[in-house]
């Protein structure tokens, strides 16, 4: 079982590496949003799920539950929301 602190650090490291070449000048904080701040498009969301599954070495995290809420895809996600989801699933 992963420690909470490890989950947050691994998430931020993965996300920082993910956008490394995108030419963005943004500091990643808990309030940073994928679409609004990091300019994710749909392919990026799919790739980010793959990156997270690799980072946490599991394809069974169930990211659909994060991306879909009450039958609808969410419009955006913050780093804090993702971290809370991962804590719920992994910690």
């Amino acid at each position: 079982m992963l420690q909470t602190v490890d989950i947050g650090a691994r998430l931020r490291l993965t996300l920082a590496e993910f956008v490394e070449d995108w030419g963005l000048d943004i500091e990643i904080t808990p309030e940073t949003s994928l679409v609004g701040d990091l300019e994710f498009d749909s392919i990026d969301v799919i790739q980010f799920v793959v990156a997270m599954e690799n980072a946490f070495q599991s394809r069974k995290i169930g990211f659909q539950d994060l991306l879909m809420q009450e039958g609808r895809y969410v419009d955006d996600l913050t780093v804090a929301q993702i971290e809370a989801f991962l804590r719920d699933r992994l910690a």
Binding site: S42, I43, E53, R59
Partner: protein, 542 residues
């Protein structure tokens, strides 16, 4: 020392190459180096996978296994949750067999692999790997080993946006274009092959890998969209100035491609050079709106269109947009050419009762074969294969229940339009099962070979780099490929089977079932945006 150059030319066909090789094209000999290779080496037709599509076919080249074993059937994988169907992309984790890159690596051989699909996230190999079909935004973390991206970034002229897959541009394939637009579209594709070639030449010269594998896919893209300017049966040389300009551009592409092949060969003259395509090409005149036909048979219901922009986009997407509570059988994507029959379960009450499945499937095959072109009265679906026929193997359960073979080799349309069958004003390039195989170099005979299987390629490449052919490879080294003396000194040996890999698909399936009871089924605009951007190759939409 590099022993083997394995060069993939996506969709290359002797139909187009023939006149460029023998000089019967209006432009004369366009590809003199390839012509020389064929004259001095071994060549023949290469039969593709049962469904000749890029992801399954190249995965067969890489694994030596057919899709029924390696588990890749399409660009897009879907998970049927019963009340909803989720579409996502196949990736390297879904391949259920070891690749030759991995087999070679664990036996101490070095490998460079460039631009092959389904190679992201990258497997760890003894060498360098840059996957194909990946957006520039995701290249760095999908290259192997760490540090390779910075290395290729330092190559003069490197431009990740030119190198990478442009989803928007590829999504235009299948759209009817005037020549001026087509010229601009083709022109934007040319730098990508040049980028891959430059990276390839650099790594070949600097790393000298035992196995150097590079795939160039401009052939496929250009033939899809400009088939009417390439097919010797269609190009008479009489087009207007705009048509002539397109013709000059596409011919120049093939001339440049010949130069790439020559330069790679000159960088490793001691190596055996193998050139293969994953499938061939042909022209398709007929649009077959297969889900429309299935609707007429009573097997599916379209998702309601409320007249909104989101609904319009859904109907134009390349993904089946259906009312899943009232659908028994459907085609998920145009590239699949497959029909999925849903089986009844608590999560999927709309499905076919398992006891009725054999009769349902048999009747559906009969109905599909009965579909006629209203203009000609001719059958439009020439053949239907069951999954047991087309894709036997451990991964067969992931295959479509039925695979369709259109009379003109075209891809189906999944859009909600009528009528079910119409004729295009010009033919669209489509995949033909017959690709190409060319091999030359030390010990290789100068001969025309019998028709090879795409999985033979992997056995030949394994032997070429000095490895025993794994016993579970499905292909073989042709007996007449080598000079007898050379073969006596380099006999083909059969070695242990490949190692089991962490079968992906597994995780996705379990996730799907875990989620099945918790997800809602409401309409979703962002989902449709996802689908729109996942258009990938727009194979033969209308």
């Amino acid at each position: 020392m590099t022993r083997t150059l394995l060069i993939g030319l996506d969709g290359a066909t002797f139909t187009v190459l023939g006149p460029f090789l023998d000089g019967t094209a209006p432009e004369g000999v366009v590809m003199p180096f390839l012509a020389h290779l064929i004259e001095t080496g071994y060549s023949g037709t290469l039969a593709s996978t049962a469904h000749p599509l890029t992801p399954p076919a190249w995965t067969s080249v890489m694994t030596g296994r057919n899709p029924g074993h390696h588990g890749i059937y399409d660009f897009v994988r879907f998970e049927d949750m019963g009340h909803e169907v989720f579409f996502t992309l196949y990736d390297a984790r879904d391949i259920r067999a070891e690749t030759l890159w991995q087999v070679a690596s664990r036996q101490g051989k070095s490998v460079v692999s460039l631009n092959f699909p389904m190679m992201a996230p990258p497997p760890e190999i003894n060498g360098a790997l840059v996957p194909g079909f990946v957006s520039w935004k995701h290249l760095r973390r999908n290259t192997w080993p760490g540090g390779l991206y910075d290395r290729i970034k330092a190559i003069p002229g490197f431009d990740p946006k030119e190198l990478s897959w442009d989803f928007e541009r590829e999504g235009q394939i299948g759209e009817l274009m005037e020549d001026a637009e087509l010229h601009a579209w083709v022109d934007k594709h040319l730098p990508r092959d040049r980028q891959w070639f430059t990276i390839g030449l650099t790594l070949l010269q600097e790393d000298r890998p035992d196995l150097f594998a590079l795939m160039l896919d401009g052939t496929d893209k250009i033939q899809h969209q400009a088939w009417h300017r390439l097919d010797p049966a269609l190009w008479t040389g009489d087009g207007d100035a705009a048509a002539q300009a397109v013709r000059r551009l596409v011919v120049d592409y093939f001339r440049g491609l010949d130069g790439y092949l020559k330069a790679l060969h000159e960088a490793a003259p001691e190596a055996q050079m193998i050139i293969v395509s994953d499938h061939g090409f042909a022209g398709a005149w007929t649009v077959v709106r297969i889900n429309n036909y299935l609707e007429s048979l009573g097997h599916l219901t379209w998702r309601a269109n409320d007249g909104s922009e989101a609904a319009r986009r859904r109907d134009l997407s390349n993904f089946a947009n259906l009312d899943w509570s009232r659908t028994q059988a459907f085609c998920p994507t145009p590239s699949s050419n497959g029909i999925v029959i849903r089986k009844k379960s608590p999560a999927c009450p709309a499905g076919v009762d398992p006891a009725d499945y054999p009769a349902f499937r048999a009747q559906l095959i009969e109905d599909l074969l009965a579909l006629r072109d209203p203009e000609t009265g001719k059958q439009v679906i020439a053949r239907v294969m069951t999954r047991e026929e087309a894709f036997p193997g451990q991964a067969m359960d992931q295959a479509p229940d039925l695979t369709l073979f259109l009379a003109d080799h075209g891809f189906v349309s999944v859009r909600n339009r009528v009528p079910p069958v119409v004729t295009r004003p010009i033919p669209m390039g489509t995949h033909h099962p017959d690709g190409i195989f060319v091999m030359a170099g030390p010990g290789v005979r100068a001969a025309k070979g019998a028709r090879l299987s795409i999985v033979d390629t992997t056995a030949i490449a394994a032997h070429s780099i000095g490895l025993p052919v794994p016993q579970d490879f499905e292909g073989k080294v042709p007996a007449d490929l080598y000079d007898p003396d050379w073969l006596a000194q380099h006999p083909v040996t059969i070695g242990p089977a490949t190692l089991a890999v962490a079968g992906a698909g597994e995780g996705a399936t379990e996730t799907a079932s875990e989620t099945a009871g918790t997800q809602g089924t409401e309409e979703d605009e962002q989902r449709e945006e996802v689908l729109a951007q996942l258009r990938l190759l727009g194979y033969i939409e209308d």
